[in-house]
């Protein structure tokens, strides 16, 4: 139960808003962080905390693409398929992922490690093709870089190839991110 585990955090979140309902997204993130997805139990608990009915929480969850009602893989690979990334090859990025992981968008590897989704623009249009894995951005992806990322993730659970604070064009002489 969130209430017992994160009592102080919840109080802190609630204190930011004059109306409790505003805390619904922060609490849903908390629930998703905890279980990997938003369970019915969590929605009911959040409804209770915010004095909403469970349907009021449920309708919010289903509106936003980042909240999941079902468990997904450990690494959620979200490939931007909007035009700007497509212009620089996001379709082949998906093909490459399929070749490497054997799955397409909406699928999860049998070992529950990777889930691939296609998403719309992630504000990384100058550095496409790109993908977000869980919280991290990976930009200007090439075949070699993708292989590196997948290997890192499988081995270490993270990858140093992820983006840091964004700067484009990069100032002359600065360390290249890649």
């Amino acid at each position: 139960m969130l209430k017992e585990k994160y009592k102080a955090e919840i109080e802190d979140i609630l204190s930011r808003y004059p109306v409790r309902r505003s805390a619904v997204l922060p609490l849903l993130y908390m629930a998703q962080q905890e279980e990997g997805y938003v369970s019915e139990t969590a929605m009911k608990e959040i409804a209770g905390i915010l004095r909403l009915t469970p349907p009021q929480v449920y309708e919010v969850v289903t509106f936003y693409t980042m909240l999941h009602l079902k468990p997904i893989g450990k690494f959620h690979v979200q490939v931007c398929k909007s035009l700007m990334c497509a212009l620089v090859g996001s379709d082949t990025l998906l093909a490459w992922l399929k070749a490497r992981l054997g799955i397409g968008p909406g699928e999860t590897t049998p070992d529950k490690l990777f889930t691939i989704s296609t998403v719309e623009c992630l504000a990384s249009c100058g550095t496409g093709p790109m993908m977000q894995v869980n919280d991290d951005y990976y930009e200007s992806i090439t075949e070699t870089k993708l292989d590196g990322i997948l290997a890192d993730l499988t081995r270490d659970g993270t990858s140093s190839l992820k983006s840091g604070p964004f700067m484009l064009p990069e100032p002359a002489g600065s360390q290249c991110k890649m």
Binding site: E40, M43, A47, G48, R51, L52, T53, P54, P55, Q56, Y58, E59, T62, F63, L69
Partner: protein
């Protein structure tokens, strides 16, 4: 010429017609007034404009883009066009978009023939569609036993969702997903669990949400409709019964008419299967050799007439008594009391108004000389402050509840609640959630809570200065009485400290229009009469009393509780009501009836039963009333009936009481007869026959009338209208049929008499804290709970427990318990518990409810056979109201 425009109105021209409308009127409404119907799906006058369907686009001069008429208020001088080519094209295009994905399964759609989409399509669209893509398909899923959902037909106008939230405050429907795949769901794949008010069914403009009870049973044009009044509570909702082949197919309610203005509750919407239930008594029955056997009407009525004449000769008329249910029409009630008084010759008459309604009427008559509300539902909606005391309004009077919700949600009224409710969200809306000042407690605490509030009014100097001048003694007497009660003791008794009471007192006293609503939690519990009187004191003290839009409203639990009182179907009143001892009234009535009235006051329900046990009352005539099933065993109702030499019962079903009768006569239900009901506000409304009488049943008044002829004192009427005509001559002005009640004003002379000394006789008794509250630890250290018989939203008395639809919503009685108490007792949802006290034991399943205050458990009265055995019985000494709805009990998990 000077431009003299009233600032509250604006002039607008719609399709060439110029009209003046109030400021803020929406274009779509102004157009309606001009007789111009603008097509729309998402707009509904009850809901905030959402402008999502884009169907109601119109051209407004000087505005470049088409505007939605549902969200645009008229501005002065605005010129609107609703039928230009551009507008027509826009309407067509929206229809084309909607129809693109619409399944066109009209032949099997229950909305067919009364569907907005069908009608607008007929009006605007060519028959061919350009849409050649793949239609969107939503997976069919089971929604609920009562409500059917077909999302492929949905036009996503969200009227259902908005109604469920804005009007009902239930919030059970969720628009799920996004974009074109948005669909209406409840919670995940769970089936709908809600109030089942049917509002979503009624407000859906297409066939997306329909009733399962009538699925595939009709085409609208096959139905015969009758506009009548619901029989399930005192709100008096206007319903339309739709029947086919003498079966009720559905019930709905039209927007814009009736006191409910189209809103219904589950009882009204889904509870219509009672009338045609197979258990209906179809033929008269006479007890022969101890067994009830069928007989012809002739045999039965002759038998009753002969027996009554013989018994009257042998024992005299005072050996008779009559009981009638206030579910009956005014016509039934009137003829019944006339029959008892003239044909039999006794005033021993009582009705189910005795269970509580009488307390309210008696308090009102005493303090302000009225027997009706001095306010209306409209006043509730526009009040600035509302104080609810023991109403449990959502369950007991759901539509009154909507008026209160409207006052708070739409108009920002302050809501003070003294209720057995803690704010908590659940499947049924909880009025305490809207409360600005909520005081939760057990019914036995309500009286003390009212004292705390009055004490706060006095101490915060909120007493009306005029009243202090006019009746210093009255104010001082109350102040003195309350002065003797310390805040310490009030805090202990109410669980709330004085600042909370002072805040509430200020809000209530300073409101421009304030109304007190009193419910069964007061009227049917010990002290009910006194607490209601004290609440009238509160109105007087705060200066609200007598002001327009202010007043005290007592809620009627049964549909014609108020009518029973007004028709004189209670012991203390003649039609009017006038006191049965009022000589002038007696003489007037005798003149009209051309017959002497029986002498002496009549006996009330409990008195009648007592006398029957003693053998003084020997014959009982019962119309639809069921004392054996309603009162706890300790009342001795069963023994009383068994003692009687002769019991006649006019009934729909074989109740506990009917089963003891010597003659049972089949009566027609409200759906099978004409007449009138008087609602809780005091509005008399027409009841109309929707189906032919079931079996050989006859309207109650007709049976009594026939009997009167056989007994040689004919009281004859051609039809219900004729009776009503007589009622109007007997009670002038009181029985006006109209769309809105015209409430009486308090009688200044009576008020003056009260404040100048009338208050004094029982003041000391009313202004004291009753014995210590319950919920404390008993002698053995075992925690005791207060068990209260409660009213469920899904049932009305035991009558509704034969309605298929309502049983789908609530099939049996469960003990409702607070989660905290459940935790202490180590009880989970669905567990079985043993509930016991010195009177008896019951075993039942448990359901958990966050909204119940700790220490309070409830059991629905509709399934209370077992629970009744635990109830102690006390009787209000002034009004004879039997109190038996609360008991102290111990609870433990059932073993095994």
């Amino acid at each position: 010429m000077p431009n003299t425009i009233d600032t509250d109105t604006v002039r607008v021209t719609i399709d060439g017609q110029t009209l003046t409308v109030p400021k803020g009127t929406l274009v779509i409404e102004a157009a309606r007034q001009a007789g111009v119907m603008i097509p729309h799906f998402c707009y509904h006058p009850k809901l905030k404009p959402d402008a999502n369907c884009r169907m109601c686009l119109v051209e407004i001069e000087k505005v470049p883009k088409l505007q939605t008429s549902c969200s645009t208020p008229v501005a002065n001088g605005m010129v609107v066009r609703t039928a230009t080519t551009v507008v027509n094209d826009a309407h067509k295009s929206v229809l084309e978009f909607i129809l693109a994905n619409h399944p066109l399964d009209c032949p099997v759609c229950d909305q067919g023939g009364r569907c907005d989409l069908q009608d607008f399509s007929h009006q605007y669209t060519p028959t061919t569609s350009r849409f050649i893509e793949i239609k969107r398909v939503f997976q069919k899923e089971y929604f609920s036993p009562l409500i059917e959902k077909e999302m492929n037909r949905c036009v996503q106008c969200l009227r259902c969702v908005r109604y469920c939230d804005e009007v009902m405050d239930v919030k059970a429907l969720a628009p799920v997903g996004r974009g074109t795949m948005t669909e209406i769901k409840h919670f995940g794949s769970h089936e709908l669990d809600c109030e089942f008010c049917g509002g979503c069914v009624q407000i859906c403009p297409v066939g997306a949400i329909t009733s399962r009870l009538s699925m595939y049973e009709f085409r609208p044009w096959m139905l015969k409709r009758a506009d009548t009044i619901c029989t399930y509570c005192g709100d008096g909702c206007r319903i339309t019964i739709q029947a086919k082949a003498n079966q009720i197919i559905e019930v709905n309610s039209e927007y814009g008419v009736g006191r409910n203005n189209g809103d219904l509750c589950p009882r009204g919407f889904f509870g219509y299967h009672v009338s045609t239930h197979p258990d209906r008594i179809m033929q008269p029955m006479i007890r022969r050799n101890g067994v009830l056997v069928t007989a012809t009407w002739e045999e039965a009525l002759e038998y009753v007439a002969e027996t009554c004449i013989a018994l009257k000769l042998k024992h005299g008329p005072q050996a008779f008594a009559g009981l009638i249910t206030s579910r009956c029409t005014n016509e039934d009630l009137y003829v019944f009391q006339k029959f008892m008084r003239l044909v039999i010759g006794t005033n021993n008459i009582d009705s189910s108004a005795r269970y509580g309604q009488v307390n309210g009427v008696r308090a009102l008559r005493r303090v302000q000389g009225t027997h009706r509300w001095t306010v209306t539902f409209e006043d509730l909606s526009s009040a600035n402050a509302l104080l609810l005391v023991g109403t449990n309004v959502t369950e007991t009077n759901p539509i009154t509840g909507l008026r209160i919700k409207e006052a708070v949600k739409k108009h920002g009224a302050s809501l003070l609640t003294i209720e057995a409710l803690v704010p908590a969200v659940g499947k049924i809306s909880n009025i305490a959630n809207l409360s600005t000042h909520d005081f939760a407690g057990r019914p036995d605490q309500f009286g003390t809570m009212v004292l705390a509030l009055i004490k706060a009014v006095i101490e915060e100097n909120l007493v009306d200065s005029e009243l202090t001048q006019q009746a210093p003694g009255y104010v001082r007497a109350i102040a003195d009485a309350l002065g003797g009660i310390s805040w310490d003791s009030l805090e202990t008794a109410t669980g709330r400290a004085s600042p909370a009471w002072r805040d509430a007192a200020r809000v209530f006293a300073q409101a421009k229009r304030a109304i007190i609503v009193v419910g069964q939690g007061v009227l049917r519990h010990p002290g009910g009469l006194g607490i209601t009187t004290n609440l009238l004191d509160l109105l007087l003290l705060t200066g609200h009393h007598g002001r327009r839009g202010c007043g005290l409203a007592t809620l009627a639990e049964e549909n014609n509780d108020q009518g029973a009182v007004e028709m004189g179907a209670v012991a203390e009143f003649l039609p009017g009501p006038s006191d049965v001892t009022d000589r002038q009234a007696r003489e007037r009535l005798a003149g009209l009836w051309k017959e002497e009235l029986p002498q002496g006051a009549g006996r009330t329900l409990m008195g009648i039963l007592e006398e029957a046990k003693k053998g003084a009352v020997k014959a009982l005539y019962v119309v639809g009333e069921n004392p054996v099933g309603s009162l706890p065993p300790s009342s001795g109702a069963k023994e009383a009936l068994q003692h009687c030499e002769f019991v006649v019962c006019q009934e729909l079903f074989m109740t506990e009481t009917a089963a003891l009768a010597h003659v049972v006569l089949p009566a027609s239900s409200y759906a099978e007869k004409d007449g009138t009901f008087t609602n809780t506000e005091g509005l008399v409304q027409p009841v109309r026959q929707a189906i032919d009488p079931i079996g050989e049943s006859r309207p109650d008044w007709e049976i009594l009338s026939t009997l009167s002829v056989l007994m040689g004192y004919p009281i004859e009427y051609g039809d219900a209208k004729e009776i009503f005509k007589e009622i109007r001559s007997v009670i002038p002005g009181s029985a006006l049929l109209g769309p809105v009640p015209t409430p009486p004003r308090p009688d200044a002379a009576v008020v003056n008499q009260y404040i100048q000394g009338g208050y004094a006789e029982d003041l000391a008794n009313r202004y004291r804290v009753p014995g210590e509250g319950r919920g404390a630890r008993g002698e053995g250290g075992e925690k005791t709970f207060t068990l209260v018989l409660s009213q469920s939203l899904f049932h009305s008395g035991k009558f509704s427990t034969r309605a298929k639809g309502l049983l789908d919503a609530e099939a049996d009685g469960k003990l409702a318990l607070n989660t905290v108490d459940a935790g202490t007792l180590n009880i989970m949802e669905g567990d079985r518990v043993r509930v016991a006290n010195e009177r008896g034991v019951m075993t039942t399943a448990v359901t958990l409810r966050d909204r119940l205050p700790e220490g309070l458990v409830t059991f629905p009265e509709h399934f209370d056979e077992q629970a009744l055995s635990l109830m102690p019985l006390t009787i209000e000494n002034r009004t004879g109201v039997p109190y038996y709805r609360a008991a102290s009990v111990r609870i433990e998990k059932a073993r095994g």
